[in-house]
Structures are given as C-alpha cells and as structure tokens.
C-alpha cells in the first residue's frame, strides 16, 4: 500500500495479522487500519451478541507524571482529574480558550502522581503538544508513548468470560471505568474496563512488542465463543448506536461541551483555573446555541454527515453522524439543531440529495444494553 514503504503512513504492530485475516485496510488519521474483515454488519452483530476484538493502536497514549500531575491536568483539561481515585477513569475534553473542543479524551489515574490520557489518533500530536505546553509551569512531565503502545479492545457480552482466564487482574473487582496494572496472556498490560461500543468490555494497553502475542491468544481463546475481529467500520456504527460522540464528526473546535450535551464533563466547581474556563462559564450561563440530538429517519433514505435539517422551510441544523443502525434496523443520526427544535418527538426533515425525508427526534442513546 502506498505510503507504508516511505513511512508516511503509520502502521500498527498487528498489521500482518490484519492482512492474514483478510481485512480491508484504509488510511485513517495517518494510520493504515482495518476498516472491516468479514463485513460491517456481521462484525457489529458479533459485538452486540458475542464479542469483538479491535486493534486501536492508532490512539494516543499520553502519560503525565509528577507531584503536580493532577493539578497540571486540572489546568489543561475541563474535567477534574485530581478528584479521580487511583484505578479510576473519566471522560474528559481539552478545550481552547474560547471553549471549543480540541479533543475528547479518557483520563485514567494509575497512581497518586501518574495519569494516562488517551487521545484520538487524529488529534494525538496536537493534544501531546498542548499538554506539554499547558503543564509547563507544573512539577509534571509528559511521556508521549503513542508510537510505542498498542491498544487492543475486547468488547461484547462474552468479553469478560474470554479475558478473565487470561489475566491476573481481578476482572470481577474491576468496575466500569476502572483500570488495573497486571498481565494479559503473559504480557504486562494496563487493563481498563472502558470502551466505545455500548457493551461491557475492556481496553488493553501493551508495549508494541507484546501486541501480536496478546492478539493471537485472545483471538484463539475467543474462537469457541464467537469472538470476531472488528474493524473501524463497525466501531463507528457501534458507537453511534450508543450515542457516543466522534471527534471530527460530532465534535470539533466550533463546538463547546454544552452544545454537545456534554456539559456535565466540565467541572466549573473545581477550584483550579483551567484553559477555557471564562468562555465555558459564559456559555453555561447563557445556554448553548445549538443542541446535539438523536434522529430516526422515518422515510426512505439514510441521513449522512453534512446533510441539512429543516423545520418546514427553515434550516435548523445539520447531521453530524448518520448510518443505518444494524441493531434497530432503521437509519439513525446525530445532528445539531436550534435548541428549541430538539425536543424528543419533534418531526424534522432531512435534506437527502434533492428531497426531504422525515425524521423524528428521539431520546439518546439509540441503544442501551440490557442489565
């Protein structure tokens, strides 16, 4: 594939596995990544009904360490990392001074003075640079291990049963949004109970050199359970059903956390100053100018990113993510609309090519796992 030989496209340590599994590979955020193996619908169902194995080695792993690591992150991010107990994680964002979202993140507290920040591949370098800059005045250092760290996720109702016998981490004691250091298939790993699918599951951070063996062991161990390798295509439909925002689609620098319905992530009550505080306080007080809503298309057609949304003849917003929902069997979408047009039950129109197709505002998420 073009770009691999000259190094302009980054590759994961699992590339040869993906090729052997017959994956279709695409350039995603500068990485050669599997978009699908057997097919998006089949892979999507595997995760909902059984389990799926994902290579997410393109994500950015940024370790922040030092006596002021927590305080440094409290200044750099909109959440309050010092409030995390060791072994816990939360969803966060890094914003610009104007309150625009520069990336959405997961922050894990590994020790009193050690945190792991996981950034999207498309923003990993930007976030790394911004963190280095913002923590400059604190007794904390940034260790960007994105290129040395592989990330393998196992997600789905059978993920726990497949992983538990292959790790020394007490899986039953590891709660949702918990993280523990241990071993998986003999390799040192960080085991987190997080994911981007709407299912129970785990994310496993290992050194690149150990990724192949870990992948092989889990894929073999899961064979009898129906574990399937899953590409970025199904990852997108899974997260959309779970109404988890995708940076670059639903979130971007023109969007504030309040616009995205994620105001709860911003901790205005924390004592520390942080980048974006003044702007975010103002937006919180004035109310957001738009609202992220869920839509189910009630006519013929699929709402896609960028399609306009209308109330009668008035354009009220646009679709940011849209796809046919494999689980619901109808086209679903996330869209920004004028706040008053976003109440569940409201009927809107999506502009699809030359026509208008009715769509209903529905409560989010589209899909919530049982139990």
């Amino acid at each position: 594939m073009a770009g691999v030989a000259d190094g302009s496209v980054k590759t994961t340590p699992l590339l040869t596995r993906h090729e052997a599994l017959g994956a279709r590979l695409i350039d995603f955020a500068g990485w050669l990544m599997p978009v699908q193996y057997s097919g998006i619908l089949e892979e999507h169902r595997a995760v909902r009904e059984r389990a799926g194995l994902f290579d997410l080695s393109h994500m950015g792993e940024l370790f922040v360490e030092g006596p002021d690591a927590g305080a440094a992150l409290a200044y750099a991010l909109v959440s309050d990392p010092p409030a995390l107990a060791v072994g816990r994680a939360h969803y966060s964002m890094i914003c610009a001074a104007d309150g625009g979202i520069l990336d959405d993140l997961i922050v894990y507290r590994l020790a009193d003075e050690r945190f792991l920040v996981v950034a999207n591949a498309s923003n990993a370098q930007l976030v790394s640079d911004l963190l280095a800059e913002r923590i400059g005045g604190f007794r904390a250092i940034l260790d960007d291990r994105s290129l040395a760290t592989a990330l393998v996720a196992i997600q789905g109702p059978r993920a726990k049963g497949i992983l538990a016998p292959r790790t020394d981490v007490d899986i039953d004691a590891l709660r949702y949004y918990g993280i523990a250091e241990g071993h998986v298939a003999g390799s040192a790993a960080l085991v987190a109970r997080t994911g981007y699918t709407g299912e129970d599951g785990f994310e496993l951070f290992v050194d690149n050199a150990r990724a192949g063996e870990l992948w092989d062991v889990l894929l073999e161990a899961g064979r009898a359970e129906g574990l399937a390798p899953v590409g970025l295509g199904a990852r997108d439909t899974l997260r959309l059903e779970a109404a988890m925002a995708l940076y670059g689609n639903d979130l971007d620098p023109t969007v504030s956390p309040y616009d995205a319905g994620l105001g709860r992530v911003v901790k205005l009550t924390k004592t520390a100053d942080f980048v974006g505080r003044a702007a975010l306080e103002r937006i919180a007080a004035e109310g957001p100018r738009r609202r992220l809503v869920g839509l189910i298309v009630r006519g013929r057609g699929i709402a896609r990113h960028g399609y306009p949304i209308f109330v009668a003849e008035r354009e009220t917003g646009a679709v940011t993510s849209g796809a046919p929902s494999p689980t619901l069997g109808v086209p679903i979408a996330l869209a920004y609309v004028t706040p008053g047009d976003g109440e569940p039950g409201t009927m809107l129109d999506v502009g699809i090519r030359d026509g208008r197709v009715p769509a209903e505002v529905v409560p989010l998420p589209f899909y919530r796992r049982a139990g």
Binding site: V35, Q36, G39, I40, L41, E42, G233, D236, T237, R300, G301, I302, R304, A323, P324, P326, P331, R353
Partner: protein
Amino acid sequence: MVPTDLHYTKDHEWVRLDGDQATIGITAYAAEQLGDIVFVELPETGRTLAQSAAFGVVESVKAVSDLFAPVSGSVVETNAALAEQPELVNSEPYGAGWMVRVSVADPTEIDALLDPAAYGALIAEG
C-alpha cells in the same frame, strides 16, 4: 469472475442487452468494494436516462455511491425487491440484484462500453 455475456462501464455497472431492452446493475467487484449494501434509490418508471448521467444511488453502511447510466433510454421497470432486500446486490449482483431495465434509445452507445476482457483487466489493476 466477470460474466462474458455482459457489457460494462468503467464505473462498474453492467448491461445485459435483450432485444431493444437493457438490464442494468452493478458488478460483483463494485458490490464487494462497497461492502454491505443497505439502500438503493432508483428512478421512477418512465424517466429518461442519459448515458453517463447519475440515475440513482447505492449505499453501504459507510458509503454513498452514484449509479451512472451505461446507456440512454427510458426506464421500463425497476427492481422493486431491492427496497426490502438491498443485500441482493451483494449476494446476486448479476441476477436478483439487478437495478433497472431501460428501453435503449441508441444501440450504438453499447459499442462504447467495455467488453468482459477489458473490464476484467480494469478491475485487475485494482
């Protein structure tokens, strides 16, 4: 394998000529490249298609692709089964997954299409 009794476009449509009527679909290669097909939008019966102009849309889970008319003519029938079973385009691209049937306006347009060997060579290039 590329069926030897059809004509092809570089945009991966196929044409089966039967008298003055042409049945049109997309090739197995195109269907495979698109992935799971979930939606097909076809023109109304009676509409006139112009060669090389977009006449419909095929959508997979991730992608939206235009369909281009291999020949000019008026639509005499569309494959209604695709409304409920768009996956037929994946499973039987040259059979039950056909899309439209047109009354051919100008038979000489067929001569400008790719023959099976030329189309086979096109997809072999990737």
